[in-house]
Symmetry: C2
Subunit: 434 residues, 2 copies
C-alpha cells in the first residue's frame, strides 16, 4: 500500500470528549503509510519528509473514523423484507427459522457479500458478526478488504460442543489475520439458549484461547422472565455468577437492566451494544443507554440483522439512538450528537477489543471515511457533527479506506462486483422461497 | 406538457387498504396526459389510442405517488444544525428566535429554495408550509414546479390582524394557482399564541374565504398546562368550543390527546399531522397515532422545520413512525409498512384538502416518483413496501414528476440551480450568524 495524503478535509478525530461543538473538528490533513495513520493535523502540518505517492484533495469533504457496526448477523440480508410487522415468536417460528434452516454455506457467503457491499457504501469499516458457516463469512471479509470480528453462533445442547469446536477452528484459521483485520470471538447465543454449565465450558474455552465472548444479553422481557423462572436470577446476575464477565464480553442489546446490573456491567468493563432500530422494530424495549453511559459503560452501536432493521446503516442507528432516548426521557439534551458519533466509532472499536482502531490519530489503523457534504440536506454548516447524526444519508459516503487500502471511491466499491452479487442474491432468494 | 408513458415499473397505487403484501403492487405502466394520470394498469393495458410523445422505460424501478410533507417551515433549513440538543425554551429563546428575527424576505426565498431542492431529490412532491414572507415562499414554489399548501403563520396580539390581512392577500394572489398547484390556508400558530377571540376572527375569515386552517395543536405538555390554566380546558376541547373545527383543519403534532379528544378530531374530520422525528428530537412526546388511526382520524406525516429534525426526508419519517410506535406499544404489529406509506402519500394529500392527489389512478394529478431499487440495501425483494419504509434512502429517488412535469431525472433537479442555491445559502448563513 502506497503512502497517501488526504488534504483539505474537515477532520473529526473523535479522540477526546469535547463539549464545544467548534472544538470537535478542524480543517486539516491526514497522512497514511501502509495500514497506519502517521499524521493528523491542521493544513500544512504534515512532516516534510513524508513522501505521498498519492494525494487525495478532499476539499469540502469530512473525514471521520470508519463506522463500527458492533452487532449484526450479516448474511441475514437474505431475509430482508421477508417478514415484517409480525409478533416476535410468529416472526421467528413461521418465517425466520424455517428459512434459515435452508441456508447453505454458499447462501451465507453471498448474503455476507451483500451486507459488506451495503456496509462499505454506508461508511462502515468494521463489523461484529454472529452467524453460522463462518468460514464463508471470513472468506467474504477477506476478499472485500473490510475489518471484522467474527463469532460462530453457539446454542447449547447436542450440537453445542460441535459448534464450539467449529469456533476454535475458526479462531485458529482467522484470529489475527492480516495484522488483526479479522479477529474472532466465541459466540454463545444467549443465556436462554445456553444453560449455565454449557456457558461455563465456553468461558473456559475463551480463557484458554484468549478470546472474547459475543453474546445476546437481556434483549427482551420474555428472556428476563425465562431466566428468572429457571434460575431465580435476572440474566446479568446469572452471567456474573457463572463467571462470564471474567473474559472480555460484547453484550448485544442490554435492554432490560436494573440499576445494580448496570453497575455490574460497569464494574466488569462489559461492552454493551445498543441496537435501537432492531429493538424498536421487534418491540423489544428501550435500552437504558443514558444510564449506562452515565455509569461509565462503553456502549457501541449495532444494526442487528437486516431482517429486523431492515438496513445496515449506522447513520440511521445514530439518529434513531439520539432521537429515541430524548423522547423516552422527555429531555432534549439526552444523548447529544457527539455522544452518538462516539458510540458508532471509538466506542465500537473499544467494544470489539480493537485498541488501535476507531479514532483518527497517528499510530492508529487507517480506517477512514470521507463524506461528501455538497448535498442540500447538509447546508448550511453551522455544526458538522450535528449533520452527521441528524441529517446525513448513508449515500453521502464518498470514500472508504480500511487498513490503509481504499475500498470505496466516489461511492463505488472497488473490491466487489456489485452486479454479480445482485445476480447471486436473486438466485439464492428464489431458491430459498420457492 | 407532452403525453408520457412510464413502462415496466413496479406500481404501488396506494388507492386501497390492502392486507396482503403481494396485492399492494404489480408490474405495470402509467400514462400521463397534461397534468393528469390517464391510465394505470398491468403491462400492455394502456389504451391503443394513447399516443406517447415520450416513453420512460422504468424496468426495475418502483412507481409511487409523490410524498406529501404535511407540516414544515421550509425556510428553517437556514437554521439547520444551528442549535441542537438543547432544552426547548433555551433552544427557542437563545437560538432560534433571535436568528429568525434577522431573516429578510430574500433569506426566506433562498431557504425555501434549499428546502425544495432537498425535498424534490427525496421524492417529496407536495409540502404544507407555515412561515412568514410567504410571497417569497410562493415565488420559490412557483419557479420550482413543486406543489404546496402555504400558510402565513399568525400570532395573536398587535400584529395579528396585519398578518391576517397578509394571509388574505396571499390567498388572493396564489390560492388555486395553476389548477391548484399552489393552495393557501390560514395559519394561526397555536392555541397558546392566539387567544380565543382572535382565533374566532381567523375562523370567520376562513369561512368567508373558504380556506382551511393550518395550526399547531397539543404539541407539548407545557401547552396543555398553559391552556388549562388560562381557560380551564385542554387544547382540543377549547378549539372545539370556539368553533375551529367548523372549517377544514390541518392540525400539526397532536401529541397530547385524551381519548375523548381523539373522538372530537374524528367526529369533525380534523386532519392530524404526525411529526415523529421533531417530536423525538425536541422531546415533546409520542403522539397517539395508533389510537387516532383506530378512531378513523386521517393522520399525515410531516418533518416539521429542519431546525428540529434536521432533514426533510419523508422516508426517514415513515421509518421513525413505524419503529417508534412499535416500541412504544411493545407490539411489533403496530403501524405496519403499508400504513406508514399511506400516511406519507394518500393521507397527506387528504390532509391538505387535495382531492385529486396522493394516489396513482386515472383522473388524479400526475405526481409520481420513480425509485431506483438497484441498491444493496434493497436486495432481495421479498416485499417492496417494507423496503420503502424500513430500508430506503431518500437518495434512491431517481425521477420526480409533479403536475405532469418531470422535475427530477437521474436524481438531478431540472428546475433549480443547485450551485447557485448553495452559494446563496452560504452568504445568508454567514450574514445571519456574524
Amino acid at each position: 500500500m502506497a503512502n497517501l495524503l488526504i488534504k483539505n478535509c474537515i477532520v473529526i478525530p473523535m479522540e477526546k470528549n469535547l463539549h464545544e461543538p467548534g472544538e470537535r473538528y478542524f480543517v486539516g490533513e491526514i497522512a497514511v503509510a501502509g495500514n497506519r495513520i502517521v499524521h493528523v493535523g491542521p493544513v500544512g502540518t504534515v512532516p516534510r519528509d513524508f513522501k505521498a505517492e498519492r494525494v487525495l484533495d478532499a476539499a469540502g469533504k469530512v473525514a471521520l473514523p470508519g463506522l463500527v457496526n458492533a452487532h449484526t448477523h450479516a448474511a441475514m440480508t437474505l431475509l430482508r423484507s421477508y417478514a415484517d410487522d409480525l409478533p416476535l415468536m410468529q416472526w421467528l417460528e413461521t418465517r425466520i427459522w424455517p428459512l434459515e434452516a435452508k441456508l447453505t454455506p454458499e447462501d451465507v457467503y453471498w448474503g455476507t457479500k451483500l451486507s459488506i457491499l451495503e456496509m462499505l457504501k454506508a461508511g462502515v469499516t468494521t463489523f461484529a458478526d454472529m452467524y453460522f458457516f463462518m468460514d464463508q463469512v471470513a472468506q467474504a471479509v477477506q476478499e472485500s478488504g473490510m475489518r471484522a470480528s467474527l463469532s460462530r453462533g453457539i446454542v447449547g445442547g447436542d450440537r453445542g460442543l460441535q459448534a464450539l469446536e467449529e469456533s476454535e477452528a475458526l479462531a485458529e484459521k482467522w484470529h489475527g489475520f492480516e495484522d488483526g483485520r479479522i479477529t474472532v470471538m466465541l459466540g454463545p447465543h444467549a443465556p436462554y439458549t445456553c444453560p449455565p454449565d454449557f456457558l461455563r465450558t465456553v468461558i473456559g474455552k475463551a480463557k484458554e484461547l484468549e478470546l472474547g465472548i459475543h453474546i445476546h444479553l437481556a434483549e427482551t422481557a420474555d428472556e428476563v422472565e425465562t431466566i428468572k423462572s429457571r434460575y431465580g436470577k435476572r440474566p446479568v446476575e446469572l452471567m456474573e455468577e457463572i463467571g462470564l464477565f471474567e473474559v472480555p464480553v460484547l453484550a448485544a442489546h442490554c435492554v432490560y437492566l436494573e440499576p445494580h446490573e448496570i453497575k455490574i456491567l460497569s464494574d466488569y468493563k462489559v461492552k454493551a451494544v445498543h441496537n435501537p432500530e432492531s429493538n424498536m422494530k421487534l418491540a423489544s424495549g428501550i435500552a437504558p443507554v443514558p444510564e449506562m453511559l452515565e455509569a461509565g459503560v462503553t456502549v457501541a452501536l449495532g444494526t442487528d440483522g437486516a431482517a429486523s432493521n431492515n438496513n445496515l446503516d449506522l447513520f440511521g442507528e445514530m439518529r434513531a439512538a439520539a432521537l429515541l432516548h430524548k423522547v423516552n426521557k422527555l429531555d432534549s439534551t439526552v444523548l447529544n450528537s457527539y455522544q452518538a458519533l462516539q458510540m458508532a466509532t471509538k466506542a465500537g472499536a473499544q467494544a470489539l477489543g480493537l485498541t488501535d482502531v476507531g479514532i483518527l490519530k497517528a499510530g492508529y489503523k487507517a480506517d477512514i471515511i470521507l463524506l461528501d457534504f455538497e448535498k442540500p440536506h447538509l447546508y448550511p454548516r453551522h455544526d458538522v457533527v450535528a449533520h452527521l447524526v441528524y441529517a446525513m444519508q448513508a449515500s453521502d459516503v464518498d470514500t472508504v479506506m480500511v487498513d490503509g487500502r481504499i475500498l470505496v471511491e466516489n461511492g463505488q466499491v472497488l473490491t466487489l462486483d456489485e452486479q454479480e452479487i445482485y445476480q447471486k442474491i436473486r438466485e439464492c432468494s428464489q431458491r430459498l422461497t420457492s
